[in-house]
Every structure is written in C-alpha cells, then in structure tokens.
Symmetry: C2
Subunit: 248 residues, 2 copies
C-alpha cells in the first residue's frame, strides 16, 4: 500500500519549428495529440516547442526520452535546410544519419522520373531507426529508441499518428467534474482534506470568471474509477450544499 497508484504510461511532445515560436503558424499538432493521448489513457508530462536547431533538438529529445515512456516529435522532416529533426535525434542518441533502403524505394516509387536528388533526404533517418508502416498512402513513422518522428504539416501528422496510435492504448482515465458556486479561497481547505484522503486521485481547481457569481470547476481524475467516485462523494459531502451546482 506504499504506492497505490498503478503504473501509468507517460509521454512528452516535442514540437520543432521556428514557425510556431515566431507566430507564423499556430501549433495544431500538440493540441491534437493532447486529446489523443488522453483518450488512449497515456499521461502527458510535458510539451516543448523548440527552434530548428540541431543542438536544441538533441538535448531536448535526449532529456525527454530518459524521463517518459513515449516521446513524439512534430516537424522538421522535409528536404530543406531548416529540416533538422533527423540530425538532432541522431545526435541525441550518438548515431549517424543514414539512408533507409525502404524509404528510398518508396520515394523512387512516388516521384518516379521527377525525383530530385534532394528529395532523397526524406529517406534519411538516425541509424537503427525502425519503421511503422501503415497503408500504402501513408508515409511510415520512424522510431528511434522510444521516440516517434512525425511531420509538421497537420493533416499528415494526424494521418501518420493513426498508423501508430493503437500501440499506446491503455486503461482509460476516469474523470468527475464538480461545478461549484464559490470562491476558491472558501473551498481550499475542503479540497486539502479530500486531496489528503485520496492520494491516488488527481484533483484540480479552476476558477471561472465573468459568469456572474464566482465559480470554480473541480476535477477529480484517476485510472481507478472507484477511487474517483469515492473522492467525488467525499468532496460533495464536505462542501456547503448551496455551493455544489452540479456534478458530471
């Protein structure tokens, strides 16, 4: 009973792209993956948006790879000078970038006579990468250690994530939401008591403004559905009756 929480798979997202940091494009891929990972029952621990820089990519991916179970990168995998993800991930693991025969074959098939020498950069991966192959219309997803390398263009990102998604499916999270009519300060002590008595449940408190009376959304979440229900009942029992607007 020293650690009640069952082992939950963890993940990190690394978005690689000057274009996000400079506001030229809004990130869509981390937003999409946050929803996918939650639905899969995977606990996302960190999202990082970093520049197109080999050293930054290497250091960030190496650190994330050591800390979580699954790392997903987005962006930087095309044929131009600013596509540095393969070089960065290779450096993260101390391996060279090599041309992958299967990817080269796919590129030759796709472009035919129109193949530019430069397109072959898209056949380059860190040495030792494995490929996850979906249908013929979807580019394979390279994996190096626990890092899955996905592209930056959102429609292609989503399509490629589909290829690997079911690998990560785990027990779902259970969530209860308690909508309160109260200031956070007035329910903080009640929340403390419930937090202390239900260590396996993650409890969040989110004030909401601009809707008339002050209100707070309390969320209770865990993989263990019964633990969530017990914590939710304990919270509702502690709060003043008038403070609980509804429970979902």
């Amino acid at each position: 009973m020293s650690d009640e929480r069952p082992r939950v798979a963890t993940a990190a997202i690394v978005v690689i792209g000057d274009e996000i940091l400079s506001g030229k494009f809004a990130d869509e891929n981390a937003v999409h993956l946050i929803g996918e990972l939650r639905a899969l029952g995977v606990a996302l621990r960190r999202v990082e948006v970093i520049p197109d820089d080999v050293e930054e990519i290497a250091a960030t991916v190496r650190a994330a790879s050591a800390r979580v179970d699954h790392v997903f990168t987005s962006g930087g995998v095309g044929p131009t000078h600013d596509d540095l993800t393969m070089a960065g991930i290779a450096r993260a693991f101390g391996v060279p970038v090599v041309r992958h025969a299967e990817l080269e074959r796919l590129l030759c098939g796709f472009y035919g006579a129109a193949l530019e020498p430069r397109n072959l950069r898209m056949a380059e991966v860190p040495e030792g990468a494995t490929l996850h192959v979906g249908s013929a219309s979807v580019w394979p997803v390279p994996q190096v250690a626990n890092v899955y390398i996905l592209p930056g263009v959102p429609v292609i990102f989503r399509r490629q994530f589909e290829v690997i998604r079911e690998r990560f499916r785990a027990a779902p999270f259970h969530l209860r939401r308690v909508f309160c009519r109260a200031e956070e300060g007035t329910i903080a002590a009640d929340l403390d008591a419930v937090v202390a008595g239900h260590a396996s449940v993650t409890i969040g408190s989110y004030p909401r403004f601009g809707e008339g009376a002050p209100s707070v959304l309390v969320t209770l979440e865990a993989k263990d559905e019964r633990a969530v229900e017990e914590a939710c009942r304990a919270l509702v029992a502690r709060l003043p009756v008038a403070a609980v607007v509804r429970v979902e």
Copy 2:
C-alpha cells in the same frame, strides 16, 4: 563583421498546469504571448508546458532563466493545493516564499470582511520579488530575477501582461513571404544558396498541401529590413519565373 546579427532580446514561456497537459483546457496564454512577443520584436526561444509540481517548476524556470532574457510563467498562482508556482519559482532561486505587505493590503481591500485566511496565499511571493503595478483594477505582476509571474485564467493573463508589455518593446522584425508553386525538393538547393549568402536572415520553408499543385511558402525574416529585402530579391532571382506565385 564576425557577427552581423544585432543582439535580439530573447524569451521563454513556461505554462504550468495539469489541466493543459490532460486536455481539460486548451492553452490560450502561450498562443496569445507568441503574438505579443513577435509584435514587440522579442525572439521567443521556447515554450514549455509542465505539470503542477514544485520540482518540475523549479528546474524548468531555473533553466529558462539562465538561457533567455525574459521568462514568462502562466498559471498556478491561486489559493488551492494545486497552485504551486510561487513555491516552484522560490525553489528555483533558493529563496523562501514570503507574504508581501502590498499584496496583503490589496487583498484585504478587495475582500473586506469576506476575506478567507486562505485567500492570503495570494499575497505570497518568492522573497525579493518586485511588483509591477498597473491600474487599480489589475493585480500587480510579480517579478523574480528575469521571471514574470502571470496567472492561468486567460482574461486575467492578458490584462496583467498589458501592465508590463511596453517594458519589452524593441525594434520590429521584418518579414517577407514568397509563395511558390513547386515541390520543396526542387527549390531546396536555391534556398541553400540564399541561406549561405544571407546569414543574418532567418529563412523558413513550409510546404502546403491540399490546394492542387504542390506549393511552398518561404519566409525571410530579420530585424534589418534591407537584409531581408536583399535576401528576398536574391531568392526570387534564383527561382524559375513560373515558380514564384507572389511576394508579400
């Protein structure tokens, strides 16, 4: 002439919140600040979304503070158990959390007789924090070293950032956008040549899909407007005439 680029102020954003990582709320604050910083002429180097965890906050803020000129945190500053930003930033700089007399006075004035003891947690800041005070209707922004501490609720985040915004205004970035009808692979060598000849300009290449013919948006950006114009002219001169759809 060994370093042509003038010194550009840099920034990082640290979004603190389980609710973003678990998909309960979409981030709005980093998105907002990306646009603000760009308009101010500040170069954003990194965005990190991290959990409500004192050690994670401390390590992330300490690292960001050492790497960039300005760090902005979002979230975790209310009165409940999951509001750990002040403790995390205090630990980042090896100082205790203390009650700030001016913030206590503001809380007492705001709540009057309805003040809950727990609300006074919102008067706590890392020791040595300075306050940026705007109008009476806006909560002051605490600063510790080069870290500005902002709240998670988007409407309040934006209002508080207004208080400090003009501190960061610098020379603007100049941007040119060249819309090309081409595959990235066919223009990659031309891009390389322009990149090599215009080291002070940041050049990005972004393929666009699903609009009929393959197309690429090339962006050229720097603080030096003349350098951007020269790089843009050099690129257009290199590309096949039919490949350039328009320049903005």
